[in-house]
Symmetry: C2
Subunit: 116 residues, 2 copies
Amino acid sequence: MSHAWTSQMRKGVVELCVLTLLDETEHYGYQIVQRLQAIGPLALSESTVYPVLARLAGDGAIAVRVEPSPSGPPRRWYRLTAEGREQLRLMTNDWHELARGVTDLIKQTRTARRTP
Amino acid sequence: MSHAWTSQMRKGVVELCVLTLLDETEHYGYQIVQRLQAIGPLALSESTVYPVLARLAGDGAIAVRVEPSPSGPPRRWYRLTAEGREQLRLMTNDWHELARGVTDLIKQTRTARRTP
DNA sequence: ATCAGTACTCGACAATGCAGAGTACTGGCT
DNA sequence: AGCCAGTACTCTGCATTGTCGAGTACTGAT
């Protein structure tokens, strides 16, 4: 298993990743799970992704279109709405700020420790 | 206010930041709050930081030392234990992996969208 | 008939950040 | 003395969210 804290670090980030993938092109849920699992540190299961999709759809950030699948139950294709695209923009900004804040803090304290 | 998702993005990261600061040098709780509030995207309140310190101390990642304050109630100075230093190392690794994973994903989808 | 792969659903749980209120100590202002 | 701001920490309760585990349904291969 991963460490216990990795699942906490993912919080909030999952939503960002889903929106990001949908910004690229239309996706269905299972496909999103596959793509995120291909990224090691973002490997997450269906029970994580599907609720996110449901909530984003409820919020109007993404829209659904059902299409029969060649192998299995019908697929639910999701795409970004204008609202969702705007949310993605804001979230991406926040993500970059946060990531930079944390990474900088780590760097700063490292150099601070090296020169006491 | 910040957006609703920023507080979710912080999950797990707060613990990392606290450990990082303590890796630099000994700190007391209020001081940690002040320093993190100075970093815009990491601005968080006492009710966030103190529970984290309590839990880390309970886990043995940090050790406490009480000292009277020149202005106010006694300060609780925290410092990293060997255990805590190891945890910090692992968390930092995980953080960098996650951050790189997300940032790369954003970049990839951007270029993918540019060349359809 | 059985099994693997696909695609989605659901209930219950645990961790964590956060708002809000409260306590206690010091020192400055009136 | 009385009051307020700043310091330093505590506590209750809440909402959000990722995750485990199990379940359903459809297709095609063995």
